[in-house]
Amino acid sequence: MTSSLTDRRTSLYETHVEAGAKMVPFAGWEMPVQYDGIKEEHIAVRTHAGIFDVSHMGEIEVEGPGSLAFLQRLVTNDVSKIEIGGAQYSLLLNEDAGVIDDLFVYRLGHDRYLVVTNAGNHQADLAQFGLISRDFDVYVRDAIDNYAMLAVQGPNARRIVENTLRIDLPSRMKVAARQVGRRPAIVCGTGYTGEDGVELLIDPEITPAIWTELVDSGVVPCGLGARDTLRLEVCFHLHGNDLSTDTDPISAGLGWACDESTGFIGSDKVAVLRANGTDEKLAPFVIEGAGIPRQGNPVMLGDEQVGEVTSGTFSPSIEKGIGMAYLRSDLADPGTEIEVDVRGKRRTARVSSKPLYKKAR
């Protein structure tokens, strides 16, 4: 992947460059992959607080009397369960139950929802939202340019955000309208790290000032590199790696985010997969000795390929190679020994339960 003239920049681009961040192209954006180092940033989030520029994430607003019926048809989870001020993880499927995107749905009002999408899928999501919206009394609007998004994550994240921005924060999996930098903002009690924290949807104009205020209060700037190691340690899926239109929710272990009774697009197919079981299952694993698994590595049992790694990295918390792989279903149970072919070298690994990183109590 190389940088291109068409790559977009977030409102924090200059802030990142001035701070010495290493910038990389990611899903059509120029984003910081790291500041001082992925390991340090990762540990800062596990033990203190880190801040991520995730302004490349997309936002779609859904409004109108048909909002609930529209979203029930469009996404997999039971949207009727979200109370005003609530949040829910969901999937956008095609008719074949292939995963177009995974997203968060926030309910802002009675007939008002905000959907947060992945950068690389935002256009595909918009197309699907637009197409399906024709059958419902609903208004769909691309809001990606209205918001910058900051994720502040870690055991001290809430306390610092509260004290620095002087706002009350919604609890975990809740959302609230607030003023940040004297502008309307949406504050979400969600994240992608396995730590407590918030995600702030704020006016791009004031974002550099807010970022600087939080960093001056001791929050550690983090790049997408640490975001990836943090999410993989707690087995959160990454669309493009662990999910795609070639994978279905049941194989991916996301049956819990699907309620077929709502009649979502692809629900018939999901019901069949749930009833009959799938040939493959996505399972997390840890390399027992040396070696770091990478995306695309074959998983072997003797001479037979029985799976493929979809995400792999070095875990700064566990200090071992970790990953997730689609495995033949009979091999996907925790404790099963497998071998990962890492560029020609067989590395012994063990299927684990989720999450791979368990917080010390």
């Binding site: 992959v33 790291q34 992925i38 390991k39 590199g225 070696g291 770091i292 990295t313 070095f314 560029r343």
Partner: protein, 128 residues
């Protein structure tokens, strides 16, 4: 080390590898530029003792959290030592790439190959 440095007593290969030649033997490693581009090294597994390495060919890999990078041999020869301390402390490649962060030692099969390598000034100029 935080600041770029390219010691005068080393020979440099354009693939960002260095050699410290001592008679018929040489110690090999990656340059400050290479470790900085790669990020924190979290894994290095050297070749077996006795392996023949060939000039300009990869002989090992170093890995950071996100990336895998081939290490290219600046000179040809037989591996006579591997830096085993890197198994537990791979970060030495970042902290001290020319001393404790060395990778392998080889017995040179063709010492004249060294004539094609760059000195510190030429290598530094090549980075600009």
């Amino acid at each position: 080390m935080a600041e770029a440095s390219y010691p005068e007593d080393l020979k440099y290969h354009p693939e960002h590898d260095w050699a410290r030649i001592d008679g018929g033997e040489a110690t090999l490693g990656i340059t400050w530029y290479a470790q900085d581009s790669l990020g924190e090294v979290v894994f290095f597994e050297g070749p077996e003792i006795g392996t023949e390495v060939s000039k300009d060919q990869p002989y090992a890999e170093v890995e950071s959290v996100k990336a895998v990078s081939d290490v290219v041999a600046p000179l040809s020869g037989e591996v006579i030592a591997v830096n085993d301390t890197l198994a537990d402390a791979p970060e030495a490649v970042n902290a001290d790439p020319y001393e404790t962060g060395w990778l392998v030692k080889i017995r040179l099969s063709d010492p004249a190959e060294a004539d094609s390598l760059m000195d510190a000034a030429a290598y530094t100029a090549s980075l600009e």
